[in-house]
């Protein structure tokens, strides 16, 4: 069984996710951004979207579907950038 299929991988994933949440909170406090209840799910959804986009491109490359990977990368980059800017503006409200 490889590292990526084992429980340790998910343990590390959980640690990294917890670290990311703590880092986001600290960063928001440093920037003077007040994280209200609706901002957390918004950021989580955006991060998940980014992750899914990267996973889609990676999986497509792995499957040898280079056209799908290319279009996925383009669409993912544009949609993540646009939604990222919108999320950022909402965070600063």
């Amino acid at each position: 069984m490889s590292f990526f299929e084992g429980g340790l991988f998910w343990f590390v994933e959980g640690l990294l996710a917890a670290l990311a949440i703590v880092a986001l909170r600290t960063w928001a406090q440093d920037k003077g951004i007040r994280m209200s209840f609706w901002k957390w799910p918004m950021v989580v959804v955006w991060v998940l979207f980014l992750g899914v986009s990267i996973a889609y491109v990676g999986t497509s490359i792995g499957e040898g579907e280079m056209d799908a990977a290319f279009l996925g990368a383009i669409c993912g980059a544009v949609m993540a950038s646009i939604s990222g800017v919108v999320v950022w503006r909402l965070l600063r409200m």
Binding site: I74, A77, V78, I82, V85, V86
Partner: protein, 388 residues
């Protein structure tokens, strides 16, 4: 003594004249080098024929032997029907029973990405074996091709006309007679007129709440002209006009309205309300700019670089179209890619860049690369230099 203003004016006049002369030169070169050798296409359309006798009605009779006692192998007709960017010309071979032996493209100037969608479906070769009495209905006996309706319609119509002419003129066979409405005028044309009138009125500040109405027009244009009909003004339209590939006005009311809305105000007033108040891709950039919360213009030194790049690219594209008599020989637009999701890889990359930059800078495509803007600027230069 000449003032600095006079010097600038005379330089502008010289530049306008030089561009005009170069374009006229390109047109003349294109006119002389434009010819097509049809002999090869006749043989491809009717491979069983050894020689061809040409009739007055442009129907070629294919004969089985080189001698005079040879039999008729069939007929070949070459017919053209206007497509998106010029005529689609096909050679159709028909056997004496009225069955299509082969159909080949003689010449077409459609956008490569759109034509590829049709050719990938095996057209026009898939017309092989069809009978001249078939209806040639897209969605009926001819499979539809999503995203290339105009090209497919022109191709199918050219094949149908060729078959019909040969069937009635040579074989005396019955064909399906198509009745067409004399003028193509429907919902797209009506909505386009509404958008143009409202867009122009808001541009001239003739309406109350002009800012809100401007946004309504831009969003309607983005949805209908852009995503639903995918028929905004492009350099291909302007090149078609210059090369002389004009559709019959009865079938091209939309095309005439759109080009008039773009060109007439520039010629008469030097202003381009189409670009700022109607253009669907401009609307998309405006929406992104609002989402990004910025309305910055490109800094001066970059603006000059991109202005020169924009005009040089547009001049090259127009010259290419004139010399090769092909409106789509050099295309670098991204609006069609945005609205149809069809295009080359580099167009997708460019489109992504434009969309992302639109979040931070006002209308980067319009100000830096749009060829239609460059053509508008040139008409404005001509107007400023020579009109009283």
């Amino acid at each position: 003594m000449a003032t600095a203003k006079d010097v600038t004016k005379s330089r502008e006049r010289l530049l306008a004249l030089a561009i005009l002369v170069s374009l006229l030169g390109g047109w003349v070169v294109g006119w002389f080098r434009h010819h097509s050798d049809i002999a090869g296409f006749l043989k491809q359309a009717l491979p069983g024929a050894v020689r061809f006798d040409s009739g007055e009605d442009s129907i070629h009779t294919g004969l089985t032997h080189a001698q005079s006692e040879s039999e008729t192998a069939g007929f070949v007709a070459i017919r053209s029907v206007p497509g998106y960017a010029g005529p689609v010309t096909v050679a159709v071979g028909l056997d004496p029973n009225g069955t299509i032996v082969n159909a080949v493209i003689v010449r077409q100037t459609e956008s490569p990405a759109f034509f590829r969608k049709v050719s990938d479906k095996g057209l026009p070769g898939r017309f092989r074996g069809k009978d001249c009495s078939d209806p040639f209905e897209i969605g009926g006996d001819v499979d539809a091709v999503t995203g290339a309706t105009v090209t497919l319609t022109a191709l199918t119509e050219a094949v149908r006309v060729a078959c019909s002419d040969m069937a009635t003129g040579r074989l005396g066979l019955p064909v399906v007679v198509k009745t067409r409405s004399p003028i193509q005028f429907g919902l797209p044309e009506i909505l386009l007129i509404l958008l143009i009138v409202t867009g122009f009125a808001t541009h001239a500040n003739k309406l109350p709440a002009s800012a809100q109405i401007k946004w309504a027009v831009l969003i309607a244009s983005l949805v209908f002209i852009g995503f639903v009909w995918n028929r905004p003004v492009s350099l291909t339209n302007i090149n078609s006009l210059l090369v002389g590939y004009w559709p019959r006005w009865q079938n091209g009311v939309y095309w005439c309205l759109l080009l008039t809305a773009l060109l007439l105000p520039i010629i008469l007033t030097g202003k381009t309300p189409y670009c700022s108040h109607i253009c669907p891709f401009g609307a998309a950039q405006d929406i992104l700019m609002r989402l990004g919360g910025s309305s910055r213009q490109l800094p001066g030194k970059y603006a000059l670089f991109f202005k020169i790049l924009q005009r040089s690219l547009a001049w090259t594209a127009v010259m290419g179209a004139l010399v090769f008599r092909n409106p789509t020989v050099i295309t670098y637009g991204v609006s069609a890619t945005f609205f149809t999701f069809i295009g080359a890889n580099w167009q997708f990359v460019l489109l992504a860049l434009v969309l992302i930059v639109s979040l931070f800078i006002a209308r980067p495509w319009c100000n830096c690369l749009c060829p239609v803007r460059a053509v508008s600027d040139y008409i404005r230069l001509l107007r400023r230099s020579f009109a009283r």
